[in-house]
């Protein structure tokens, strides 16, 4: 029962959360060097990305196998707005978020018509299509080389860090609010029993598209921030790897909770960086981590699985 007690402390979380927040909030001060801060920034970006995927799949129960569309799409959109239209970075980020939302609404409609594997296939096709555009309009998008030479958000790592942290906090808060609200109840009912939800008056299509779109907005903004932070982007942001990576993050961390995707994102990002010495086998290692997790702790690596509000895992 010893571990149970520890679990209770974690669950009650106050002390833990405060310590964590304190630690995260002061990273630029205690980090060993700039590179370390950089890792945290990237981890935060992926945390937001992972949360967006989690929102869609963990709470709505719909599959997205091509979330890279929003991540990469948001990145490209923001960069293009900035480079060719001269729109300042923060505004470009926001606008690309909106654009991703719109795209989510449009793409959401065909998604309504299919289920299961076909839905996965369809979502898998989205980034492929966008990639096609990117290659076709090579001059604008820079083909394989990608784009660089546009404006970053700020020269200071610290500022970048706090912005990334703010994004994470905002996303977490937003997720909590949504999940605990009427919205969350509705979406849970849809996930639970669609026909019944319909019979009590819920417009299923509307809510599914809404969540899909919302998830896209969040992913898009994270991608946009990433783009402005890196100061250079390539089509890799749209690749299958990007779609799969976020799925791995969320599954390993724990689908359906809020802390899960965060942990998964941090884990993968740090692994990524310390695997720098074996770059060619990155995905293989992720695959192994994923498989091991699925065998040993299928609900995710968390020592506990907290349920926030009415959220619950899809699996």
């Amino acid at each position: 029962m010893e571990s149970f007690k520890l679990t209770r402390i974690f669950l009650d979380g106050r002390i833990q959360s405060v310590l964590l927040l304190l630690a995260l909030g002061t990273v630029p001060f205690w980090a060993f060097n700039l590179w370390f801060v950089r890792i945290f920034i990237i981890a935060n970006v992926f945390a937001v990305y992972a949360l967006s995927w989690n929102l869609l799949v963990g709470y709505t129960g719909q599959i997205s196998f091509g979330h890279a569309f929003f991540f990469g799409g948001g990145a490209y959109a923001s960069v293009l707005l900035n480079k060719y239209l001269g729109i300042p970075a923060p505004l470009a980020m926001a606008m690309s978020g909106v654009m991703c939302g719109l795209a989510g609404v449009i793409l959401g409609y065909p998604c309504l018509r299919v289920r299961g594997i076909y839905l996965a296939l369809m979502t898998w096709a989205f980034p492929l299509i966008f990639l096609g555009f990117v290659m076709y309009f090579g001059e604008v998008f820079g083909r394989e080389m990608g784009i660089s030479g546009y404006q970053g958000l700020s020269l200071s790592y610290s500022v970048n860090y706090y912005v990334s942290l703010a994004l994470v906090v905002l996303t977490v808060l937003a997720t909590m609010v949504i999940v605990n609200s009427r919205f969350g109840l509705i979406i849970q009912s849809i996930r639970d029993n669609e026909v019944l939800a319909e019979s009590v008056g819920i417009n299923i299509s509307k809510y599914k598209i809404l969540f899909f779109s919302l998830s896209g907005v969040i992913a898009g903004i994270s991608g946009a921030f990433y783009a402005h932070f890196l100061k250079s982007i390539t089509p890799e942001l749209l690749a299958v790897d990007m779609s799969i990576l976020v799925i791995i993050m969320v599954i390993v961390g724990g689908l359906g909770s809020i802390v899960g995707p965060l942990m998964g994102a941090y884990l993968v990002t740090f692994l990524n960086n310390y695997l720098l010495y074996i770059p060619e086998l990155r995905m293989m290692i992720y695959a192994i981590v994923l498989i091991v997790t699925l065998f040993l702790r299928p609900k995710g690596l968390l020592p506990w699985s907290p349920k926030m509000g009415s959220g619950g895992g899809a699996e």
Partner: protein, 241 residues
């Protein structure tokens, strides 16, 4: 003025005629029974009215509005709600949440919980507020179905076999609840096989057989009607009598 008017409703599934030119009217405040042997098309009529199945022919009018083309989820905002033959629940949500979800269409956010609790009280499930549907016995699940339908603030309730599978003790409870609903001004159309429970409750009864309306009338008339008896029991039985 009729609350609900069904005009020449028909449905074919390929070559099979499930419902053939059925028409009837439901007036506000009454309890109408819809009976008939298995396969007569009763549930199909509910499905047609609620839009789960597309109509081959015919019109449905609710409160002078043509709802023939309406989508299933829109019915609730209009004031109609239906239950299903097999109990159905949100298995991962508590009883309270199950009912709360049903309130989202017509009740304001702040009132939801209150309305949900009231409705749960009406069907007598107060003690089970926090339980999961999986923990409830069949009879309670039937009550939950009704609570959910009630929570949508309906004017018209379409109940599909609410008495099926209930123990005798539960039957009386349900009859009470349904009478109370009538007292609240809610109109009920009830599909039932358990005629002993339905007849004392219903103001009027419509009989379906092989997709067609056989007869319509008061419970007493229906029970004594020759054709109805034949439809349920078959000609041979009648000969035997």
């Amino acid at each position: 003025m009729a609350l609900l008017e069904v005009i020449s409703l028909s449905k074919n599934f390929g070559g099979l005629v499930a419902v053939n030119d059925v028409s009837f009217q439901i007036s506000g405040g009454e309890i109408v029974g819809l009976i008939g042997p298995n396969g007569a098309g009763k549930t199909t009529i509910f499905n047609l009215i609620s839009g789960l199945v597309t109509k081959s022919r015919g019109t449905v009018v609710f409160k002078s509005t043509d709802i023939t083309k309406v989508k299933p989820y829109q019915l609730v905002s209009l004031g109609i709600c239906r239950t299903f033959q097999l109990t159905s629940s949100f298995s991962e949500m508590s009883v309270l949440d199950n009912v709360k979800v049903a309130t989202v269409c017509k009740t304001k956010g702040s009132e939801s919980a209150k309305k949900a609790r009231e409705t749960i009280g009406l069907v007598g499930l107060e003690e089970y507020e926090g339980s999961l549907p999986g923990e409830l016995p069949h009879g309670h699940l039937k009550r939950l179905d009704i609570a959910r339908a009630l929570a949508t603030s309906p004017e018209l309730l379409l109940l599909d076999e609410p008495f099926s599978g209930l123990a005798i003790s539960e039957v009386r409870g349900l009859t009470e609840v349904l009478r109370r609903l009538k007292g609240m001004g809610i109109t009920l159309v009830i599909i039932e096989h358990m005629l002993r429970e339905l007849m004392p409750l219903a103001d009027r009864v419509i009989v379906l057989s092989f997709g067609e309306k056989l007869k319509e009338g008061s419970p007493e008339e229906i029970v004594r009607d020759q054709r109805v008896i034949e439809a349920y029991l078959g000609k041979k039985w009648d000969d035997a009598i």
